[in-house]
């Protein structure tokens, strides 16, 4: 067994710094590169791409990134784990293998985790007794059944561990939890038992710290952002994991950013609910047990983590179409910028009302004044300029489309000193809403396929 392994975060979301994976494999030693690509809405976008072209439906950025890192990971024995397979992990695997062949790289085995995509088996599942009611408001699935765009089970670390045991150097999954990507190599390397709940929780907490990329190594740090050096060259976080469940969060030597108790604490609190009950498919982690210690510059020891047994359900992430929306902006300049922007908003609302268009919501915000902090933001008396930002949402495409046509005319038919319409009319876009549900673990079984070059 290795004394420790270094697991490096290479991506915090789909659209993160493109060079981060390359930097992680070339700027210092690592054993694993983990990349999280999937936000809740990403799956519906990928399903749409797959419907248009059956060879798509995965994070295409991955292929360009693999082209850069393949020569390095092959030489250094670095393994890569990512959920960028989206709704088509097989096509993603094929594209990676094709890239390797094109580059003349051999000795690489790619494993895929399948079975999370339940969109085509929903009728079968419901006929066997799966309710899949909305876990936030209890609504029945039948209300949105014919508008569903995607339906995926969140798998945990276990299928990734199985792929690694079958010899995979690269593991491509669909809807796997962000935390499972990081926990899996620890289980595989250290031979942890799946019911060693403290260890499962430790790896899960490490995954939570890595899953948002540089957000734990100095990015988006509210504590004291001025104190973070060289964010231009920010180093993404690395977990140096030990067999006893302890780990050290760090980053490569010579990179920018900051790893401190404060930066790690902020990330630990990101998007959590009850900290005693952080539920994943692998375990329940207790975030009130986490101890942090600054060992030296950019090295934070994380220890003491306690866990409890997994639940008997998988979380299911579904998305459905819920009408259309559009957002447009106009900029008003001094004098009386705020008063003019409010007057323009009133004129636009009167015109929309005269047209008898039906909207689920019309929202007006004044960027520069209160779009972030709302009523908590004091309004200055004499502002230089303000951006009027109006959004509408409707079940009717035509209503949203007409809103887009009514905004620009305000320039010639409303209050003066207005600009900022170079981008043209706001176009209606589909609203894809999120439907979280629970599914008994007995209903679905992950499958593994491996293939090498």
């Amino acid at each position: 067994m290795k004394d420790f392994i270094r697991i490096a975060s290479g991506q915090g979301f789909w659209g993160d710094l493109i060079d981060a994976p390359y930097n992680q494999v070339t700027q210092g030693p690592i054993d694993y590169l983990v990349m999280d690509f999937l936000a809740e809405v990403t799956m519906s976008i990928l399903q749409k791409q797959k419907r248009k072209n059956p060879a798509l439906g995965y994070a295409k950025d991955l292929i360009a990134q693999f082209e850069r890192i393949l020569p390095h990971i092959a030489g250094k024995g670095i393994k890569v784990i990512t959920n960028g397979g989206g709704v088509n992990p097989i096509a993603c695997k094929d594209a990676i293998l094709a890239t390797a062949r094109k580059m003349g790289i051999t000795g690489i085995t790619v494993g895929v985790v399948l079975g999370d995509d339940i969109l085509d088996s929903l009728d079968d599942l419901t006929s066997r007794g799966a309710a899949l009611a909305n876990m936030e408001n209890g609504a029945e699935l039948s209300g949105v059944r014919n508008r569903l765009q995607s339906a995926n089970v969140y798998f945990g670390a276990a299928p990734i561990v199985e792929a690694l045991r079958q010899g995979a150097d690269i593991v491509i999954t669909g809807r796997t939890t962000d935390t499972g990507l990081t926990l899996a190599p620890m289980i595989y390397e250290f031979g942890w038992s799946f019911d060693d709940w403290d260890k499962m929780a430790a790896g899960t907490v490490a995954g939570h710290i890595l899953e948002c990329g540089a957000q734990s190594s100095g990015g988006n740090f509210l504590g004291d952002w001025r104190s973070v050096p060289d964010l231009a060259h920010v180093g993404f976080p690395i977990a140096e994991a030990y067999p006893n469940g302890e780990f050290v969060i760090t980053k490569h030597e010579g990179t920018g950013g900051l790893v401190s108790v404060a930066t790690v604490s902020e990330q630990l609190l990101y998007e959590i609910g009850d900290p005693k009950t952080y539920i994943t498919p692998d375990c329940i982690a207790d975030f009130t047990s986490i101890q942090l210690e600054q060992l030296s510059e950019n090295r934070v020891r994380v220890f003491g983590i306690k866990g409890r047994p997994e639940t008997d359900s998988f979380k299911v992430s579904m998305s459905y179409l819920d009408g259309y929306s559009a957002i447009g902006t106009l900029t008003y300049a001094w004098p009386d910028a705020y008063e003019k922007a409010r007057a323009a908003d009133g004129i636009l609302r009167t015109r929309l009302s005269d047209l008898k268009l039906e909207f689920d919501e019309i929202r007006t915000e004044y960027v520069g004044l209160n779009s972030c902090h709302g009523p908590l933001a004091p309004i200055p008396t004499d502002i230089n300029e303000v951006v009027l930002r109006i959004g509408v949402r409707s079940q009717t495409f035509d209503a949203v489309e007409r809103f887009g046509r009514e905004l620009a005319p305000l320039i010639l038919t409303g209050p003066p000193s207005v600009t900022g319409f170079a981008a043209g009319r706001p176009k209606p876009s589909e609203v894809v809403a999120y439907w979280p549900a629970l599914l008994a673990k007995t209903f679905v079984t992950p499958r593994i396929e491996v293939e090498g070059v």
Partner: protein
């Protein structure tokens, strides 16, 4: 003993994000010795009042003494949630700095 009003940002930092239509915001004492001040001043009702007009649901409060932190869940806050919301801050990213505007009461001795 002399007491005074300070802004929460003087003794705490924070991070926020979205959980459906709820926002979460974790508030962390800059110095762990000041954690008792957070525990005393940041009751769920107080936070709910602070976010009047923004948080339209209930506020849940969870203590993390190990991090010198309190986590709040602000329900019905993001205009329908990340993908549906028309808000500029649909993901609640700036709720973190919004909570730090809160004025709190401290004794001089507590800050010594």
């Amino acid at each position: 003993m002399a007491s005074k009003q300070i802004m929460l940002i003087d003794i705490a930092h924070a991070r926020s994000g979205d959980k459906g239509d709820a926002a979460n915001v974790g508030v962390i004492a800059r110095d762990k010795r000041h954690y008792p001040i957070l525990l005393r001043e940041l009751g769920a009702e107080r936070v709910k009042k602070h976010f009047e007009g923004i948080c339209l649901g209930k506020v849940e409060r969870f203590e993390l003494p190990n991090l010198g932190a309190i986590n709040f869940l602000l329900h019905n806050t993001l205009g329908g949630g990340g993908t549906v919301s028309l808000k500029n801050d649909a993901q609640g990213k700036t709720i973190s700095s919004a909570i730090l505007r809160m004025m709190i009461t401290v004794d001089d001795a507590e800050l010594a």
